[in-house]
């Protein structure tokens, strides 16, 4: 009521001077989706395919060199190829849409994400057990296997683990003789790691190709996304497709912020000690910081509709401006830039940053949180997007 009286006086005064422009719905959601599909999503898939093929080639070279008795240089090359592939995949992590998305949750979801990268579902002990039994030699490997023995995470362990001990508990059968027998054979451990590695790299490349194949073409998911709300698209409306892109952007909140940053920095109760570097992503390659940067960069691209240095394209920032929220559009861009700068400025690797300056990690976490706060408050309100899983139940 206290607000109503001045409002009535304002109405009587009939003054429009200095008031913001009215929000409109002249914004073309299909143009946004089309742009995201062609400028952001497909290039990310293509880039990952290029890197996955390069990884397969490098892993194959490592295998050949290792079987010949000296795989050191080839392994180093393969490690570099893995880093490039992982950087490319971390962009796709924010694009868990269509076939990459989870089956039953995402429209057209086939859970291909887990086929490529299963983190945090990882189990190095199981990888060691596979090494011992050489199960990877099966022609149809990894069909029928759990996701924790293949994909980029298992491959990382094979490529970057230098130690000769395995990751299993002492009481497990592997440590009752089989592992010792493997070590007794000179060079056998590296040979098997390389042989297993090339199988996994080939599988990753196949899945990368499958993702691209399912997205491109007239019947591809990319077209269905861009044509949302039209005949032939599984999305009833373009707005529903925008909601799914928005849901995918929440990766930044639950995975990047909470799992990749809060837990290792000791901000979560799942970390009993002051910091938990063992909870970091990519522990063997120490690529956790690069992964986070790649996540943030892809978030920025999704938000802007393109990379900041590329030509302007329809993005969520334009959507906000069309809805009469230019200040918010600028704020989110500034907050994202700040988060990227803070994560990028962490000293050394994430492990080193946690050891040297935990407060700096927490500041970077707070900067990412600022972006996700924007996302969960005014952004979702102004654009009237549906937060994930909001569909259950009715409203009033």
């Amino acid at each position: 009521m206290r607000r109503l009286v001045p409002g009535l006086f304002g109405l009587l005064a009939c003054s429009n001077a200095g008031t913001p422009t009215p929000p409109s719905d002249n914004f073309d959601r299909n143009a946004l989706l089309s742009s995201l599909e062609s400028q952001v999503i497909q290039p990310a898939h293509q880039q990952f395919l290029v890197e996955a093929r390069a990884l397969e080639t490098a892993a194959s070279a490592w295998d050949q060199a290792a079987q010949a008795g000296d795989g050191t240089a080839a392994r180093s090359n393969a490690q570099g190829a893995w880093r490039s592939a992982m950087r490319a995949w971390q962009a796709v992590e924010l694009l868990q849409l269509g076939p990459v998305g989870r089956s039953g949750l995402a429209t057209g979801g086939l859970s291909l994400r887990d086929e490529v990268y299963s983190w945090p579902t990882v189990n190095p002990c199981r990888v060691d057990q596979e090494l011992v039994v050489s199960d990877y030699q099966r022609a149809d490997y990894p069909n029928g296997e759990l996701i924790n023995v293949y994909g980029l995470a298992a491959l990382e362990y094979l490529l970057f683990q230098d130690a000769t001990q395995n990751a299993c508990a002492p009481q497990l059968e592997i440590n009752q003789g089989p592992w010792a027998a493997l070590l007794a054979e000179p060079g056998a451990l590296e040979k098997r790691r390389a042989a297993y590695g090339v199988v996994l790299a080939r599988h990753v490349a196949q899945k990368a190709q499958q993702i691209v194949d399912l997205w491109v073409g007239e019947a591809g998911f990319g077209r269905q996304l861009a044509k949302a709300g039209q005949a032939g698209s599984p999305f009833r409306t373009a707005q529903a497709a925008v909601d799914e892109v928005f849901a995918a952007m929440f990766y930044l909140d639950l995975e990047a912020k909470d799992r990749k940053m809060a837990t290792p920095a000791g901000l979560s109760t799942s970390c009993p000690t002051p910091t938990c570097p063992e909870a970091l992503e990519s522990p063997w390659s120490k690529a956790a910081k690069d992964n986070l940067v790649a996540n943030l960069q892809m978030f920025e691209r999704l938000y802007l509709g393109n990379s900041p240095e590329a030509a302007a394209a329809p993005g969520f920032d334009d959507f906000l401006i069309a809805r009469g929220a230019p200040e918010l559009a600028a704020q989110i861009q500034a907050d994202t830039t700040d988060a990227l700068a803070r994560v990028g400025a962490l000293p050394g690797t994430m492990d080193q940053a946690l050891t040297q300056d935990r407060n700096q990690v927490i500041e970077a976490y707070e900067a990412v949180k600022k972006v996700t706060d924007d996302l969960k408050t005014q952004f979702v309100t102004v654009l009237n997007l549906r937060v994930p899983d909001e569909g259950a139940g009715d409203n009033d």
Binding site: L11, P22, D25, T377, V382, G393
Partner: protein, 451 residues
């Protein structure tokens, strides 16, 4: 010599044709059965009651626990059968009592599931317990002819009309706000996203539409019970009812609400209206009533009516805007009048070691729960208390719990809803003296105002 009934008492006790009340009973039972079946088929039992690990409790009902999956399905089966029995008028008294208590129990399981129309259904179910709507066109009346009566006292109809009137008038008063009337918010935010609606979509994209609909909705809610009360205006008013609720059904995911309101407003028509459809002559009505109303029953109704009228006004005794602080939001018919989205996390500090943790609401809640609670201070407080207990149980307590609660209200820039410097674990479980709730942001909502 005892005194005869007074004029008003005669009016209330005069016999009226039971037909419209019986039709209401049948349609209520069928709608409830349909709504319950829909709830189960959508998989909402699992999503709303099996999935969550934590449930928000209503004050005084902390003892209510959520049954296991089998228990939940049994509860829905019981509700479904009792709804059908109500429609059939079979074992009516028992069915209405079972339905009322089972539905109340279901609502008490988790505050984040509160909906105005569930509360309305509960109140109607309560009235069914009291009203003898099984005396005509029911299997009970067929089984026990002594029960049968083609007429019912008029107060049965008036009681239900009163309940409907309260809902509409307060839903209208809830729209008496600057945001609703002069900024067309949150309607503008919602309508802009309905531009893909077939046929009407382009209209929804026009800013003027939101203003028109805001004002129309305000006048509709505030006045429709009155237009429905007069014979001359009633048919037109009912057409407006159907149009209004059809539009809300198309635009918003409000489930059974449009159907329920379209059905219950039929109670404003002549009590004999259903007989036109079953080709039955109106029930013979006695010229005047000689019966009297029970004084204790009248007193109970007076108290009930006072509660219904006063409870939605309780927010006036609390400083600040109810749509922001939510103190007095529930049971007040503030239907679809605000769009709030929040980002809630907690800063937990060990009193012993000073170590700090950041706790995301998602660690305890489903997405839907987190989204619902993010704008409701009493629920933010409740989760803070639970977190303090949980940390204690994990051997990490005692702790202080601070909320980092940013909320965007009707498109405003996010503002703090909760004082981040107040230890919520030490706050009493009440919102009436809540010092931890911060005042609403002073700026207007997004968009150009009407003035």
């Amino acid at each position: 010599m005892t005194e005869g009934p007074k004029g008003w008492e005669q009016h209330l006790t005069r016999p009226i044709d039971a037909a419209s009340l019986v039709a209401f009973r049948v349609m209520f039972g069928l709608m409830m059965a349909f709504g319950l079946a829909r709830f189960v088929l959508q998989g909402w039992i699992d999503k709303l009651y099996v999935g969550p690990n934590f449930f928000f409790k209503y004050p005084g009902f902390e003892w209510v626990t959520v049954p296991d999956r089998a228990g939940l399905y049994t509860l829905f089966a019981v509700l479904f059968v009792s709804a059908l029995l109500i429609a059939l008028g079979l074992f009516y008294r028992a069915a209405t009592i079972v339905f009322f208590f089972a539905f109340a129990y279901l609502q008490l399981l988790d505050v984040t599931n509160y909906l105005n129309h569930y509360y309305f259904v509960l109140l109607l179910a309560g009235w069914l317990v009291v009203l003898p709507l099984h005396r005509h066109y029911s299997l009970d009346a067929r089984r026990r002819p002594a029960l049968a009566s083609a007429t019912l006292p008029a107060w049965c109809l008036y009681a239900l009309r009163f309940q409907i009137g309260v809902l509409y008038v307060y839903a209208g008063l809830a729209k008496l706000s600057v945001d609703w009337l002069f900024h067309a918010q949150p309607l503008q935010i919602w309508l802009l996203n309905r531009s893909e609606t077939p046929v009407l979509g382009p209209l929804f994209a026009l800013p003027a539409t939101a203003y028109l609909m805001s004002w129309a909705g305000f006048f509709y809610d505030l006045s429709i019970p009155f237009w429905l009360s007069f014979r001359r205006t009633r048919p037109y008013a009912y057409l407006v009812v159907l149009t209004f609720h059809f539009v809300t059904h198309v635009l918003f995911e409000i489930g059974m609400f449009p159907l329920i309101m379209s059905v219950v407003t039929l109670l404003f028509f002549d009590p004999s209206w259903p007989r036109r459809f079953v080709r039955s002559a109106p029930a013979p009505i006695a010229a005047a009533s000689t019966s009297r109303l029970s004084r204790p029953a009248l007193a109970v109704f007076a108290v009930y009516a006072a509660v219904q009228v006063l409870v939605p006004l309780r927010h006036f005794v609390v400083p600040g805007d109810v749509l922001w602080n939510e103190v007095g939001m529930r049971y007040a018919w503030k239907v679809m009048v605000r769009e709030k989205n929040g980002s809630i996390s907690y800063r937990v500090r060990s009193k012993a070691t000073g170590r700090e943790w950041r706790v995301s609401a998602h660690e305890y809640l489903t997405w839907r729960q987190a989204n619902e609670m993010s704008g409701q201070p009493d629920l933010i407080l409740q989760l803070a208390h639970h977190i303090a207990k949980d940390f204690g149980a994990k051997g990490l307590g005692p702790v202080e719990v601070y909320a980092d609660a940013l909320v965007s209200w009707n498109g405003r820039a996010p503002a703090r809803l909760i004082d981040p410097n107040i230890d919520l674990s030490a706050q009493p479980d009440t919102v009436l003296t809540a010092q931890y709730i911060l005042p609403e942001p002073p700026e207007p909502p997004i968009g150009r105002p009407l003035y």
